[in-house]
Symmetry: C2
Subunit: 427 residues, 2 copies
C-alpha cells in the first residue's frame, strides 16, 4: 500500500505533467506505426527517453538470435532488420527495491477505409474527453502512462530504488517477437507490467493465438461448370466454413475450462482475403489470412495440428481442392496461452495501488486475445501483469482513449512503481 504522503506528491506531479502527457500521446498517435513502419516512431521515442537521462539501448530483431528460437514466430510479411526495439534503463545506485520491466508495444493494426472514421485515424483529435486515433487505445495510451508515471516520480523529487526498464516494442499485433527480443537481449526483472488498455482490470488469463494463411491454387475447371462453385474463391469459402465448425467443436470441448468456462472463448477470424485476377476468368487462386485462438492447456503445436487436420479433411469434400490440395502457411502468431496465477506479491502491490487511486478492489478480466505479458510469466518466471487505461474501438473505427482514465492510470502505475521498487529522494 503506497505511503499516503508519497501518493499525494505523485498525484500532484501527474496532474502538473498531464498536459505534457496528452501532447506526448498525441505525438505517438500521429506516427502511422503500422507493421514494418515503426522505426521512425521508435527513433523519436529513443530521443524522448534519452533526453530524460535514461541509459538507452536501441536494436532491431535482426540483432538478436530469433532464428530457430522455439518461441520465435515466423515473420512472413515483415523484415526483422526494420523492426526497431527501444529499452530505456533507470539504473538504481545501490538498489534496495525490486526491479521492474514496464513494457508497451507501439505497433498498430491497419486503420481500414478512412471514410469510416469520424476523425482521420492519425490526427489525434481530442473531443469531449476522448483522444481519437488508431493506436490511441491499443496501446499508445499505456505507453504514455508508463513513461509519465516514471516522469511523475522524478517530478516529485523521487527516484525508484531499483532498476526499471522502460521498453517500447514492435510485433505485438502479429508475432510477439518484439517482446521476445528484449528477453534475448538479456533484459530481466522481478516483475513486468504491460499497460494494455484493460480498463483498470488485471488480466487473469489470455488465450493463445495462431495465425495461418490458406493458399488455394490449381487448374480451375472449365467455365462451363462455373456455376457449380468449383472455383478457388468458393473452395476457400468451404475451408472457412470448416474452420468455423472446428471452432464450435473446440469451444464445446473446452466448456469446462477453469478460466473461461462455457463462454466460447476460442475465436476464429478470416481477416484478409484475396483471390482471382479477372471477373470473367474462373479464379485459379485464393488466399485467406486467418486467426484462431487456443485455450490454456493447449500448445500452439496442437492447435496447428488441429487446423491442418480440418483443412485436409475439408479438401477431400471439395471437387476443386481434392485435386489441388490447399497449402497452409504459418505466417505469424504461434502463441502460448497464459494464466497469471493468483496470489503473487506483484499483483497484490498493483491491487493496492489500484485501490488507493480508484477506491475499490481491482477487477479482473479474462482475455480472448493475446498480449505480451505472457513472455514474462511463461519464459522469465515472474508475474506478467497486464493492466492499463480505458478506451474503446481496438482494431475498429473511431478507436479512442479516455483522458480522465489515462490520468488515473498514470497515477496508479506511478504508485505501483513506488511501492514495488521503493522510492528515495532523487540524487
Amino acid at each position: 500500500m503506497p505511503d499516503p504522503a508519497i501518493l499525494d506528491r505523485l498525484r500532484a506531479a501527474v496532474e502538473a505533467g498531464f498536459e505534457k502527457e496528452v501532447a506526448f500521446l498525441q505525438d505517438l498517435v500521429r506516427f502511422p506505426s503500422l507493421r514494418g513502419a515503426e522505426a521512425p516512431l521508435q527513433d523519436w521515442v529513443h530521443r524522448e527517453l534519452a533526453a530524460r537521462g535514461y541509459a538507452m539501448d536501441r536494436f532491431t530483431l535482426a540483432d538478436v538470435p530469433l532464428d530457430g528460437h522455439p518461441k520465435a514466430a515466423p515473420m512472413v510479411d515483415a523484415d526483422p532488420a526494420r523492426s526497431v526495439q527501444v529499452v530505456a534503463t533507470h539504473r538504481a545506485a545501490n538498489p534496495t527495491g525490486r526491479s521492474l520491466i514496464l513494457q508497451g508495444h507501439i505497433d498498430v493494426v491497419p486503420e481500414g477505409p478512412h471514410a469510416m472514421w469520424t476523425h482521420p485515424p492519425y490526427a489525434a483529435v481530442i473531443r469531449d474527453g476522448w483522444l481519437y486515433g488508431r493506436g490511441a487505445h491499443d496501446m499508445k495510451a499505456g505507453v504514455a502512462a508508463m513513461v509519465f508515471a516514471m516522469d511523475a516520480i522524478r517530478a516529485a523529487g523521487l527516484e525508484p530504488a531499483a532498476d526499471v526498464y522502460l521498453q517500447t516494442v514492435t510485433e505485438e499485433e502479429s508475432t510477439g517477437n518484439g517482446a521476445l527480443a528484449t528477453l534475448l537481449r538479456g533484459y530481466r526483472a522481478e516483475a513486468a507490467l504491460v499497460p494494455e488498455p484493460t480498463g483498470h482490470a488485471i488480466t487473469r488469463s489470455q488465450t493463445g493465438t495462431i495465425w495461418f494463411r490458406l493458399k488455394v491454387r490449381g487448374v480451375p475447371v472449365h467455365v462451363m461448370v462455373a456455376q457449380d462453385g468449383t472455383n478457388a474463391i468458393m473452395s476457400a469459402y468451404a475451408l472457412i466454413n470448416a474452420l468455423y465448425a472446428h471452432t464450435k467443436v473446440l469451444n464445446q470441448v473446452g466448456r469446462d475450462d477453469p478460466w473461461y468456462g462455457a463462454t466460447d472463448p476460442i475465436k476464429f477470424n478470416p481477416g484478409i482475403i484475396r483471390g482471382g485476377d479477372w471477373a470473367s476468368s474462373t479464379p485459379s487462386w485464393c488466399e485467406v489470412d486467418c486467426r484462431i485462438g487456443l485455450l490454456p492447456g493447449t500448445t500452439p503445436q496442437e492447435a496447428m495440428a488441429g487446423v491442418e487436420a480440418v483443412v485436409r479433411e475439408a479438401a477431400k469434400g471439395d471437387s476443386f481442392l481434392a485435386n489441388n490440395p490447399p497449402e497452409i502457411t504459418w505466417h505469424g502468431f504461434q502463441t502460448d496461452p497464459y494464466v497469471l496465477e493468483p496470489g503473487s506479491e506483484a499483483e497484490a502491490v498493483l491491487a493496492a495501488a489500484h485501490q488507493a487511486v480508484h477506491g475499490g478492489a481491482m477487477p479482473e478480466r479474462r482475455s480472448t486475445a493475446v498480449n505480451d505479458a505472457r513472455y514474462y510469466g511463461l519464459y522469465m518466471g515472474v508475474p506478467g501483469l497486464c493492466y492499463g487505461p480505458r478506451g474503446e474501438g481496438a482494431h475498429g473505427f473511431d478507436e479512442r482513449t479516455s483522458l480522465a482514465d489515462l490520468r488515473t492510470c498514470t497515477l496508479t502505475i506511478a504508485a505501483f512503481i513506488a511501492d514495488w521498487c521503493g522510492v528515495r529522494a532523487a540524487s
Copy 2:
C-alpha cells in the same frame, strides 16, 4: 464458292508466308498486352501494317465520343486515353465487290500465377505443333490469320476489289469499347469477320455479359461474436451464394430459349475477391468482382435490375449487411446478347470458303461468352461473323493455338475475302 485456281494460288501464298506468320504471332504473344498496357503492341501493329502500304488510322478511346453513348460500358479501372485502336485500310480503286471489316482484339486477360504454366506465358514457345502463351489462342492467332490472309492475297498477285478494314482493338475482354470506338470513328462495311478462336465453327449466338463489383463496407460487430460469421468477408459470401441461386433460377426460366434450350447457358462467376486488412481484425470491407450472363431477349438493364434485387434481398437476411447495405458498381461489360440470323449471304460465302478448305459443312456453335461481332450485327446492321482458328485454354493456364489450324484458317479467311470482296490483279 472460291474459284479453284484462285484458291490454289492463295494456298501456295499462305504456305509460302506461313513461317513469317508464325513469327508474327510469336511477336504478338510476346507483348504482355494486358488491359491498360496494350499501347506498345498497338504501336508495333501500326508499324507492321503501315509497312504493308495500308492507309493507317491510330486513335484512343478518348478521341471518340464514348461518354454518354448508350452502348458504351463504364471503364472503372482503365484510362480511355491509354487505350489505343488501330485501323489499316485497303482502299480499292473503283470498288466492284462488297466491303469488309476484319477485326481482332489484342487485349489479353491476366495470366495468373506463372508457376502454373508449363512455359512462361509470354515466351511464345512452340512445341509439338502448338504455340503456347497468354493470348496465343484468345485471340492473337486470329489477328495473325486475318493479317496474313490479306498478305496471301497480295502475295498471290491479287488485291481485294472492295474496301477492307483491318482493325485491332482493345477492351474486348472487359467492355467492348474498343470495337464500339471503331464504329464511332465512322468505320462501316457490308460485313464483318471477327476471327475469334472458334475451332472453324460459325458462332450462331452469344449470351450477353454484365460485370459488377459488390462492395461490402460497414462498422463490424465486436470480435466477441466473430465466430458467428458477421464480418464483411462472410457477408460477401452470403451475396455470392444468393447470386448463384439467382443464376440457377434464370437458367430454369430460360430453359426453353430457342438458341440455348436447357443447357444452363447463364454463367455466374465471382472472379476477384479482396477484403480485410489484418488477420486479427474483423474485416470491415470486402469487394467481389463478378460476371453474369444474359440470354437473347433480355436487355442488360433487365439483367442489372435482377442483380440489384437479389443483392438487396440477400442483404436483408444478413445481420451485418442489414445495417450496412452493400453497394453495386457497374464497372465493365453491359453487353447485349446477339444472334447471327441464319441465311445471310456473308455466312454463305464463309461456309463455302470453309467447305473448300476443310472439305465439309461449316459447324456452328452457341457461345456462353461474348465477342465483338455483336457490334456489327446489332448496331451496324450487317452480319457479324465470328469464326476462327482452333486452340485451348482461353483464360486458363497453358493457353495454346494449333499451328496446323492457323494455316487452314488463314487460307479460309483469304478465300472468304477473295469471294466476298472479289479480287483483281494487283495494281
